[in-house]
Symmetry: C2
C-alpha cells in the first residue's frame, strides 16, 4: 500500500519533513527571505502550545510583559561575548521614511537615515536589563520574574520551516535575583518546566543537561538544555535556560542595596522556547501518512465526517453530527472540553478522511444513514492504519473518545522515550565513536574533557556535544576519549538540527 | 480630601492620563524612540482584552495565522494611495550584520547592505494579498477569512503611551471574497463585532459610522469606524473596518475563476484594533484616584488584603483568605471563574489598599482577626469612595461579589452611554459650531457635503470629521453648514486623539 507522503522517512528524511509540513498545511515559505507564513492549522497548533507553556510559566510565578522589538544598537556594545555571538546575524533598521527616487523607484529616504540605528531584537537580555536597572533599587525589588512572547530576528543563511527561520516566534523569560543560588534555582526550575511541557503536552522525551562551554549562550555562565531525539536519531535542542551570573547585570548596571546596605550586582537568568518546538513535534511523531499530533495540542481532536447522498439524509446525518459535537464538547480530555469539528465541505469522503490523516487529527468519526439506523458511528484512529475502523454505539463512542485521546498521548510519549533509550549508547573509545556515527548513529555518551573541544573528528562526523546530562554522572575518574585527559564528565554527542 | 492622582482630570487632562498610567503601573517609555514597555498589570489587562476579542473573531469564522513582520519594500510600489499613506512613517531594515568600525564603534556592516531592503510592517494588506494570490484559484477557495496578532511599526513624531506609539500591538484581519456584497457584509460584520467587544468587554459606548473620504484608510473604498467619547469629550477612534474593493486584489493579483469560468479579481477587506483601545479604556472610566477597570477585563477582579499583627493571627487570617479565594474561584462572573488574588506583601494595609485603588481593582476585601471572630469580611468597591466600606458575612460576600462585578460593568457602560448622549449636539450653523468647540465641546452633528473637506474652520478649531453615523441619516435635503451646498448627509465632528 502506498503512503500519503512521498518520499517516506526511510527514503529521504529531510524531504519527508518538508512534505509533511506542506500536506498538513502547517506553514509555507513567504516572500520575505528566510521567513515563513504559519497557516491556520499550524497557528492553531502553536496557540495551544503557547497556551500550555504560558500556563506553566505563570504557575511558576512569572508575569508577561511587552518590550520593544527594536533595540538601540549601542546596547550591543555593552556585553562583548553577547555581541560577538549575535553580530553576524543581526538585522538593522536604519531609515524611517520612504521616497521615490529619480527613476520612480521606492527607496529609503536618505534624509531619514538614523544617526543611531536600531537592531531587530535577536534576543532581549539587554532591553530587559536596561529596564531592570531602572526598576531595581533594593533587595526588596527582587526577584523580578518576567516573560514575553514575541518575534525575534536572526539573519540565517540556510532556513527550514519551523526549524530555522530568519523570524521566529518565541517566549523569552528574563529574571533578576539577589543571589547566585536563587538565580541558579530559577534556571533549573524553568529547565524542569520546559521538560514538563515537552513531556506532558508534546509527548517528547529529552535528555536534560548542561551545555558544554563551546555551546553556551553568548554571555552565559551555564546553559541548561533539553535534547530530544528525532526519528532520524538526530538531536533537536528543544529549549534552553541560562544562568547569566552578573555579566548582564554589569553590562546593564542592575544594582541593588542588599540587607546590609551594600551595593551589589543582581544575578540574572534568561530562558526561551520557540516555534522550533513545532519542528521537533513533527519530527518526533509523524509517519509516512503525514502529521501525527499529540491529542493534547491537536487543534481538532476529533473530526466528524458526515456521509450522505440525498437531501433528507443530509439533514438527518447533520443533526446527529451536531448532537455528537454537543456530547463530545461536554466531555473532558486532559481537563478540557474535547475539541471537535464537523467537516461538511463538499468533497469526497475519502478525500476528507485523507486530509484529516495528513493533518494529524487524532480521531475520525464517520456517520452515515446506515450507521444512524443502527445508532452507531464508525471510529478511526490516527495511530492505526488509515483503513482500520471500528463500529461503536454512539454512547459508547462518546465515553471512549476522551480515554482514546489520553491513551494516544501516553503512547506517543512512551514511543519517544523508547526511541531515546534504544538509540542512546555508551561509547568507550574513538573508533567505536566513529563507527557509531558512520552507521546508524543516535546519541553517543562518552567521557569528555574540555580539551576535546574542536577535536577534528567532531566536525568530520558533523557531530556536536549536545549536553552534559544531569543524570548518570559520578566522581569516578576516567579518560576523555578525544584528548586522553583525565575526566569524570560524561557528555552526550549527536548530529543535530 | 485629596486624590491619589495629581493633577486631576479637571486640572490637566493630558497629564492626569500620564499619571494614571504611571500610578497603575500599566506601561512606561522605553529607550527605543516612541516605543513603550507594557508592564505586568498593563499586559495582563491586554491579554484579557485580546482573549475576549480573539474569541469574537473566531466565533465569526476567522482563523489566526502569522505572516512575516518584514515586507519586501517593492510591495509598496503596488498600490499608489497605500504607499502615499504610509511612506512618511515607514521604518526600513537595510542591513543584516554588525561590525566594529575603525574607532571600535559598532555599526551596520556596509557589506551587509541589502539590495532590496525590507519594511517593518505598518499594516499587512500587501503581504496577505501576496499569499492570497497564491492560494486563490477558483471561487471554491473563497472566502478566505484570516486574522493575525502582532506588532506594527509607524515612525510617529509625537507619541503617548498606548494612544500613539511607534510600535504597537494589534490584530489585523484580512479577508478575500468573490463578490462586493459579501465583502461589504464582512466589513460590517467586523465593525459590529468591534462594537460588541467595546460595549460588552470594555464598557465603552461609541458612535458607529463611515469615515468621510478625507479620513479613509489609504486605498480603501469605504472605512467603518467606532468613535468613542473620552471624559474630556474628545473622540477616540477605537477600531476600523475597511472595504478595499478590488484595489488591493489588483495590486496583489488575487484572481479567481468564477462559477461561469470567468477570471475575476477578488474583493478584499481589512479590519484592525490595537493597544490604543487600552488608552480609550483608561480615558473612558478612570477617575482622580487612578485607573478604573471594567471588571470583565480586570486582571484581578478581587484583591484580598489580610490584616494581622502577630504570627498566630497571620496563620489564621491567611487560612481564611485562602479559603475565600477557593470559594470565589468556584463562583462565576461573566461566565468565568472569579479572578482573585491575596496581597500578602510586607507593606502597610493603607498602602496596599491605595495601590489596589490606583490599579483599578474592582473589589477589595479586608480580613482581620476581629472580622474572623464575627465570621465577616470588610468589602470596598472601586466605584465608591476610597474609605467607604461594608461589612458582610463571608458567605454573603461570596454570593454578592459576582453580582457586584456585573453591576459595576453595567454601570460603567451606562455612564459611557450617558456621557456620549449628553455631549453630542446637533449644530445648525457655523457660528454655533464655532461656539460649541470654543466652549465645552463634545460631538457636534452637522450637515456636511464633500465640499466641506479642508474647510479652514476645522483646522482652526482642531476639529475633524469623525464619521458619517449609521443611524439618524435621512433622504431629506439640507444645507452643508460649511460649504452651503445641498446635502442630506450628517457628520459627527470632534476634537480627537
Amino acid at each position: 500500500m502506498s503512503n500519503a507522503i512521498s518520499p517516506t522517512r526511510q527514503e529521504n528524511y529531510p524531504e519527508w519533513y518538508q512534505e509533511v509540513v506542506k500536506a498538513a498545511e502547517l506553514a509555507e515559505h513567504s516572500p520575505t527571505r528566510g521567513s515563513m507564513v504559519i497557516k491556520p492549522w499550524g497557528y492553531a497548533l502553536w496557540e495551544l502550545m503557547q497556551k500550555g507553556l504560558d500556563g506553566l510559566i505563570k504557575e511558576t510565578g512569572h508575569e508577561n510583559v511587552a518590550m520593544p522589538t527594536l533595540l538601540p544598537l549601542e546596547f550591543f556594545e555593552k556585553e562583548a561575548e553577547h555581541v560577538e555571538g549575535f553580530a553576524k546575524e543581526t538585522m538593522v533598521m536604519t531609515h524611517y521614511r520612504l521616497k521615490l527616487d529619480d527613476k520612480g523607484a521606492l527607496i529609503p529616504d536618505p534624509e531619514s537615515a538614523l544617526e543611531k540605528p536600531y537592531v531587530l531584537r535577536p534576543t532581549s537580555e539587554l532591553m530587559f536589563g536596561h529596564m531592570y536597572s531602572k526598576w531595581v533599587q533594593s533587595y526588596r525589588d527582587l526577584p523580578i520574574l518576567l516573560n514575553q512572547w514575541g518575534s525575534v530576528f536572526r539573519w540565517e543563511m540556510r532556513t527550514r520551516l519551523f526549524l530555522r527561520t530568519a523570524e521566529f516566534i518565541w517566549q523569552e523569560g528574563h529574571t533578576a535575583h539577589a543571589t547566585e543560588q536563587e538565580a541558579c534555582d530559577e534556571t533549573s526550575l524553568m529547565h524542569q518546566t520546559y521538560n514538563t511541557f515537552l513531556r506532558d503536552f508534546l509527548a517528547v522525551a529529552s535528555i536534560p543537561g548542561y551545555k558544554t562551554p563551546d555551546e553556551l549562550f553568548p554571555g552565559a555562565i551555564h546553559t541548561l538544555t533539553l535534547e530530544s531525539m528525532m526519528q532520524d536519531k538526530k538531536a533537536l535542542q528543544a529549549a534552553t535556560s541560562h544562568y547569566l551570573g552578573q555579566n548582564f547585570a554589569k553590562a546593564s548596571d542592575i544594582q541593588f542595596l542588599d540587607q546590609n546596605g551594600d551595593r551589589q550586582y543582581a544575578h540574572t537568568t534568561s530562558w526561551g522556547a520557540s516555534t522550533r518546538m513545532v519542528g521537533g513535534l513533527i519530527m518526533s511523531h509523524s509517519d509516512d501518512d503525514g502529521l501525527v499530533l499529540p491529542p493534547r495540542v491537536a487543534p481538532s481532536q476529533v473530526v466528524i465526517l458526515p456521509i450522505y447522498r440525498k437531501d433528507e439524509e443530509r439533514e438527518q446525518v447533520l443533526a446527529a453530527a451536531n448532537d455528537l459535537v454537543k456530547q463530545l464538547k461536554a466531555s473532558n480530555a486532559f481537563g478540557e472540553s474535547v475539541r471537535v469539528k464537523i467537516d461538511d465541505r463538499d468533497l469526497r469522503g475519502g478525500e476528507k478522511s485523507w486530509q484529516a490523516i495528513k493533518k494529524g487529527v487524532p480521531v475520525r468519526i464517520e456517520i452515515g444513514p446506515r450507521d444512524l439506523a443502527k445508532n452507531q458511528v464508525c471510529l478511526a484512529r490516527r495511530d492505526k492504519g488509515p483503513k482500520e475502523k471500528e463500529f461503536l454505539a454512539i454512547d459508547a463512542a462518546v465515553t471512549a473518545i476522551p480515554a482514546i485521546l489520553e491513551e494516544m498521548q501516553a503512547n506517543l510519549l512512551a514511543a519517544s522515550e523508547a526511541r531515546l533509550e534504544a538509540n542512546t549508547q555508551f561509547i568507550e573509545d574513538l573508533d567505536s565513536f566513529k563507527a557509531f556515527f558512520e552507521n546508524d548513529g543516535g546519541f553517543a555518551v562518552a567521557y569528555w574533557s574540555e580539551a576535546a573541544i574542536d577535536h577534528p573528528i567532531l566536525s568530520e562526523l558533523k557531530v556536536t556535544p549536545r549536553c552534559i546530562p544531569l543524570e548518570g554522572q559520578t566522581e569516578e575518574e576516567h579518560t576523555c576519549i578525544f584528548s586522553g585527559e583525565k575526566t569524570s564528565t560524561k557528555v552526550v554527542f549527536a548530529k543535530s538540527y
